[in-house]
């Protein structure tokens, strides 16, 4: 089961029959398992990692440190929820350390992102402060090195 998830996590395009061959399982069984994993939301979504720069698409993203006041009964969750419901927000994580939430935002321009932080994020009840870090360059994302220049340098035939 974990191996199946492992395979899909690294390549969501694998077909059921390919997975069946690799894991020496029955194709039908693979199909059923995946269906079940999708149903119980173990598999949430199949995502494609894209280098948008290659097609000249300009995107601006920022990581925002958010400090918030925890609330009785719900702790950080209620504020986190208000934040993550915005579609501009790509990810929200509760962190240990000097601030509470690490929020990733994506927009078309710097202005758009700043505007969102100023008008939407920092005005939420319970948000004490925000610190915005704009992303200058992404080297690696989701385990993938963006500009990987490691190629196969092996001799073509060797004993």
């Amino acid at each position: 089961m974990k191996e199946l998830l492992d395979l899909l996590e690294s390549n969501a395009k694998l077909t059921e029959s390919e997975i069946a061959v690799m894991l020496k399982m029955d194709e039908e069984e693979v199909r059923n398992r995946i269906r079940e994993l999708e149903r119980n939301k173990t598999i949430l979504r199949y995502i494609t990692l894209i280098n948008w720069e290659k097609v000249g698409e300009e995107k601006v993203s920022a990581m925002i440190e958010v400090r918030i006041t925890p609330q009785r009964d719900v702790g950080f969750d209620a504020v986190a929820e208000r934040i993550y419901r915005f579609p501009e927000v790509r990810s929200v994580r509760l962190l240990s350390g000097t601030y509470d939430l690490g929020v990733f935002i994506e927009g078309k321009t710097m202005k758009e992102v700043s505007h969102f932080v100023a008008t939407k994020l920092s005005t939420i009840d319970g948000v004490i402060s925000t610190t915005t870090h704009f992303v200058l360059k992404t080297y690696k994302q989701d385990g993938v090195i963006i500009e990987d220049d490691e190629e196969d340098r092996r001799l073509v035939v060797s004993p």
């Binding site: 390919e18 061959v21 690799m22 020496k24 029955d26 001799l155 035939v157 004993p159």
Partner: protein
């Protein structure tokens, strides 16, 4: 005096008698072609894991650029001893019974040179890695091939060993998991072979470089067979399990007398293995286990895929239990190993190694390495299928797994 001197005649006749590697000719053909997918490579397609490379860089920064003792860094030998104990329950004395070599290739050469006197016979399974026989010849020994067959899953049997024993037989070479066939020996096979070894008082050189790449059952380290440790030179290294081929680090473990003898040759010929590579190997042993297991898991998935591809193609291929090679029977195409490999290269741009490069009993087979990406493997098998179809081979009914 003849001014057209034939310098080749001045080359040591023993060296002259050794035929050039069967792979060489093929290699020259491939290197001039573009767009070739190679399944002809005898090394992992993974680059050495970063923590190992980084460990080496750090050691350089710290100034580890000197000789080590001839036997190699004690700390590395101690880690090797620990690993052998944990993995196989064989115990060695790191100070007297282990030495670091420049790859298993050097370890093999040392073992053969230290143990073989002129005329001694060395029993070598076949098909097998290309260096065993020439190394024996160079040491003045006589290589004696023990052909293995697909009927026996290319396993060496006690009977086939016994059949080749003469009063001059001194050494039995074992090389399992095997390159090029991917065959593994079961513990039962080893016990039977050990009985023959004991009866005829042989010495065993066991090249276990592919030990960690065992997919069916678990690898039995030959010295762990009762009574075999004292009479076995165990050879292993880091190339395959940790994707460290170019670092050239191997080791030998044997009784103190053998190690001392091997170390004598090593100290004058090599002095010591490079310290940078030894430091990297140390990092590999200390922190490389998880990464190694992940790589092995990937090879295993590809192995399943390769087996399925041959089945669909209509070529019989016995299921390799180890290493990263498949060794399909290509005789239904009506071609010889070399013809098949040559046509596959010229017509479909896929490189494999003809089986006869690993000894005459490899004729009728080709070695396909699955140390390649899934994408390359799929494409290579698609191309191979079209050659096989053109040769008139039709698939039998495909039974999915």
């Amino acid at each position: 005096m003849n001014n057209k001197a034939d310098w080749s005649e001045r080359v040591n006749p023993v060296v002259r008698s050794i035929p050039p590697s069967g792979i060489r000719k093929f290699f020259d053909m491939v290197t001039e072609m573009k767009g070739v997918i190679s399944l002809g490579v005898g090394e992992p397609d993974f680059v050495t894991p970063w923590h190992i490379r980084e460990g080496c860089i750090y050691s350089l920064e710290k100034g580890y650029t000197m000789y080590t003792s001839n036997q190699g860094l004690l700390e590395l030998r101690e880690e090797i001893v620990r690993d052998l104990d944990i993995s196989y329950g064989v115990t060695y004395d790191a100070r007297r019974e282990v030495m670091i070599t420049v790859g298993v290739s050097e370890g093999l050469d040392l073992a053969i040179r230290a143990l073989v006197s002129p005329g001694d016979e060395v029993l070598i399974p076949e098909p097998s890695y290309v260096s065993y026989a020439p190394t024996t010849t160079l040491a003045g020994g006589v290589p004696v091939a023990m052909p293995t067959t697909v009927e026996n899953d290319f396993r060496l049997t006690a009977e086939s060993v016994e059949k080749k024993i003469t009063p001059k037989t001194k050494i039995l070479l074992l090389c399992y998991p095997n390159n090029p066939t991917g065959a593994v020996l079961r513990r039962r096979d080893m016990l039977e072979i050990a009985e023959v070894v004991r009866r005829h008082d042989l010495i065993v050189i066991s090249d276990e470089i592919y030990d960690k790449l065992t997919y069916v059952g678990s690898h039995t380290c030959f010295p762990s067979i009762p009574g075999m440790q004292d009479r076995t030179v165990l050879l292993n290294g880091f190339s395959k399990a940790y994707a460290m081929t170019g670092w050239r680090i191997g080791y030998a473990a044997a009784n103190p007398y053998f190690i001392e003898a091997m170390n004598k040759i090593h100290q004058y010929g090599i002095l010591c293995a490079p310290i940078t590579a030894q430091m990297a190997a140390l990092e590999a042993l200390k922190n490389g286990r998880d990464g190694m297991i992940r790589m092995v898991q990937q090879y295993n998935r590809r192995r399943h895929m390769v087996m399925q591809s041959f089945k669909e193609m209509g070529l019989h291929c016995f299921e390799p239990g180890g290493a990263f090679y498949a060794f399909p029977d290509i005789t239904p195409t009506g071609l010889t190993s070399e013809e098949f490999a040559e046509r596959l290269l010229m017509e479909e741009k896929v490189a494999v190694v003809p089986g006869n490069a690993f000894g005459p009993s490899g004729e009728g087979y080709v070695r396909c390495s699955y140390a390649a990406s899934m994408e390359d493997l799929s494409e290579a098998f698609r191309r191979m299928t079209s050659l096989v179809r053109r040769s008139g081979v039709r698939p039998k009914t495909v039974v999915n797994l």
